[in-house]
Amino acid sequence: MFAYEFMTNAFAAAGIVAVVSGLVGYFLVMRGQTFAGHALSHIGFAGATGAGLLGLAPLWGLLAFTLAAGMVMGALSERISNRDVAIGVVLALALGFGLLFLHYYTSFATQATALLFGNVLAVDHGMIATLAVLGVITLAALAAIMRPLIFASLQPELAEAKGVRLRFVSTTFLAIVALAVSECAQIVGVLLVFTLMVGPPAAAQRITTGLWSGLLVAAALALAEAWMGLTMAFYTDWPVSFCIALLSALAYFATFSARAQHAHAVG
């Protein structure tokens, strides 16, 4: 299967994105902000279709919209970002705008499926380079704020008392999530970013309680799911995103049954 260039490209792109998604997603799960991450991807859809309307590559629209939305959500922090209803309303509105932009740019409609569900098999060298650069920026930013981010996530009141600027940390983090979401959407589409950003980290947190081991497992699981999903798609001819989504869900629920059996054996 590696004889085909589109497959080696897909493996490279999915590999980069999976690692970034797994690592960033770990903190998304830790902070209980997974829904906010989901919303960012939907807002990104409006950005991507809007970019198409302007004749730009969808990735730049995705980036612009998710970054702006992430910063706004971070700045409104306590008031908005943990309110499911407010996020849900904005999310639906964003999808609506996405539809409107599609409506005015009809030739773009064939790309709608690619945006919503991903099109990793169409990735070229230029996109891989872009994803790699974005990935490095994302992870560098995450590494820079990781310490205060963990403190602020686990104990916001105490962190504030110790001089951590909570709003700055949460805004920066959501900007990082916006970057990761934009990359992730290139592989699995805006509707399925959960498969790489939430599934693997959530499973990792059920497998191990340590921070570094958790990050490692999250990244490894995301990578394994992405690559196995590609392999599975190649041999079955099913859509790649479906295969990754399936593996992600299986891995997550497997951690439940493993723990249930363990509890049963102990009890």
């Binding site: 830790m30 310490r147 104990q155 009141e157 504030e160």
Partner: protein
């Protein structure tokens, strides 16, 4: 030297004046019980001492200086503990996150940090919590973990905001005993806010009673009296003493207990909101 002084201090949260023209002095090594109805300003007072809330007027000093954020001589156990119920983080990592948690970069735990955390956990009788995830701990165990965390870094002043909430009676006693023992040994000054006075009677040196924008600091016999409390609650209060217990009543109702029940309800409510 006075550890904390308030001189005609007024504190405002949003549009509400929580404390106005308040004055008192806390001396070194004292165990102060901070009491008063809900919304009387117990948390606000602690936030001011931590340097999170500037005084609108008046002078407030901590260790003889103006309060400032990130003062490592203060140990703090906040009331609004947004511990996510599903958090699978080990006790040791949880505490480690607070060590130099304000610095940028990647987290790291040195051998020295680890030793310090384990020693402090030992001091509060919670060594076994280091390896267990938070999601598997009971309310009492979490509280002990947070107490250990507040004690790390050898603080000179401990601000404990409602540390007894969500503990059953036995664990409340254990928690008070631990604080008393550790703080007497290390000469730590303690501000301990609570809903009920009786559990603290054997432990506290003086009581700081808040209400109606005012604060009165003094011995229990001076402060917990009908005239003083009637002013602080803004209603007619009776104080009954029986078998070494003190009951603060308003129209035949125990105000502390009623507050407590109300607060529990409130607590659960906010908790549900986070899900």
């Amino acid at each position: 030297m006075s550890i904390v002084t308030f001189d005609r201090v007024t504190l405002r949260v949003g549009h509400r004046k929580v404390l106005s023209d308040v004055g008192f002095k806390v001396e070194i090594g004292e165990f102060i019980g901070v009491l008063g109805p809900n919304g009387a300003g117990k948390t606000t007072l602690m936030r001011a001492i931590l340097g999170l809330l500037p005084a609108e007027s008046g002078t407030l000093t901590v260790f003889g200086q103006a309060p400032h954020c990130g003062n490592s001589a203060i140990g703090y156990l906040p009331q609004l503990r947004t511990v996510l119920p599903d958090l699978r983080v080990r006790g040791l990592d949880f505490i480690a996150s607070s060590l130099n948690g304000e610095r940028w970069g990647l987290p790291s735990v040195s051998r020295r940090d680890r030793n310090m955390i384990e020693k402090t956990l030992d001091a509060v009788g919670a060594r076994d919590l280091a390896a267990r995830p938070l999601s598997d701990m009971s309310g009492g165990e979490r509280q002990r973990l947070l107490l250990a965390q507040a004690l790390i870094g050898a603080p000179k002043l401990l601000l404990l905001d409602e540390p007894l909430i969500s503990l059953d009676a036995r664990h409340q006693e254990v928690a008070i005993d631990v604080v008393r023992k550790v703080c007497r040994e290390r000469k730590i000054t303690v501000l301990f806010s609570a809903h009920e006075l009786n559990q603290l009677l054997g432990t506290l040196d003086r009581v700081l009673y808040l209400g109606n924008g005012r604060a009165v600091l003094g011995n229990v016999d001076e402060v917990v009296t009908a005239p003083v409390l009637s002013k602080l609650y803004g209603t007619d209060i009776q104080v009954l003493r029986a078998n070494g217990h003190i009951f603060v009543m308003s129209r035949g109702r125990d105000v502390e207990r009623a507050d407590h029940l109300h607060d529990h309800h409130h607590h659960d409510h906010t908790h549900g909101h986070h899900h």
